[in-house]
Symmetry: C2
Subunit: 235 residues, 2 copies
Amino acid sequence: MAYELWYWPDIPGRGEFVRLAMEAMGLDYDDCARRMGAEALIADLAARRGRTPFAAPYLASEGLVVAQVPNILMFLGERHGIVPSGMRDRLWLNQIQLTITDIVAEVHAVHHPIATGDYYEDQRAEAIRAATQFRDERLPKFLDWFDAAIRDTPGDWLIDHHWTYADTSLFQLVAGLRYMFPQRMATLEPDYPAIIRLHDAVAALPGVRAYLRSDRRLPFNEDGIFRHYLELDAA
Amino acid sequence: MAYELWYWPDIPGRGEFVRLAMEAMGLDYDDCARRMGAEALIADLAARRGRTPFAAPYLASEGLVVAQVPNILMFLGERHGIVPSGMRDRLWLNQIQLTITDIVAEVHAVHHPIATGDYYEDQRAEAIRAATQFRDERLPKFLDWFDAAIRDTPGDWLIDHHWTYADTSLFQLVAGLRYMFPQRMATLEPDYPAIIRLHDAVAALPGVRAYLRSDRRLPFNEDGIFRHYLELDAA
């Protein structure tokens, strides 16, 4: 079956967590706004009636519309059998994904501490202050937790011996953090070998490897969640 | 069966979304840190091994530990049969809860725009700027969406003719917003009769009504998520 994915066409953003999981799973999808432009996304969202998404990304398939990244991933994972079937593992997987969602929101808040609707340049001084606490306290706290999560189970993945969407999401988080905080990540990475091993293993999954080499993979840029501003990074 | 709920004892905070659902469901639970203090929570979290929560609240029951509010609520709802059984409804319910999670995070960021670990007084000027955009743009956008979500289904609840944890969570959101932004909410509420009707219907649920009158219900205060600072509110 084919899916319609709707997300802003010029940034990896939150949509990338969905794209990566679908590519790893080998699913066929139409990245609609990449093909038709941001105006098409705005028009599609405005035209929907009944149980509409609050925001992109959302996935449409056979009359079903699913929004919110952890919800989309749970849906895809269950439908295509890449998540564990036991209740404990399903809850743990969702818990990991929600924690990734939390740090992603915090990363965005670093460069937009005052107002999501205003320009970075209008909140640059505040972002510099926000980045300090994020780099020094929040980032290691999250990395500690993800590292322990990997080491708590047998195998190199977050859950047992097979990758799930939490692994592809953690890959994207690491890639984004390296883009946004290259100096800080260079300092921290030696402390987290399990996370880096997992990142590399995701990049080597056949579907992901092909995707990363394709023009479907959008580069990070300064309109997305992970933005490289020199003044926000430090070792 | 009895549950152990672990959350900070002096604030409603994120724990309140769990408490309200459990009270509405008539579940027996031990609010451990209310009984034993914050030190007991810190000690409990530090002593856990394997698949530990990133942060409170978390629920422990029969060796299972579940963290992240939308995850805890999904677990309780499924286990006790108060969520719809169809896939579409389950995904929609989770989507609503994740959107409530998003606005709750934005509310917290209003009074802590720079650093969650610093005092409000050290980021007061920035909070005043953040509050303006939240009150004028983000808050109506979220309320529009919740209002449409209620009106999209038959009945006065978020899903069909029975309350779920999304309803008790929306109740708490409205209560918190009224506490934090009394002037702004007085201006906006007439535009959202469906939300107010749902709030009142949740307050009238037998389990919730009894809870709200008990000393188990913690008042909002200036250490929690919803804080009343005069300078952050305006009509």
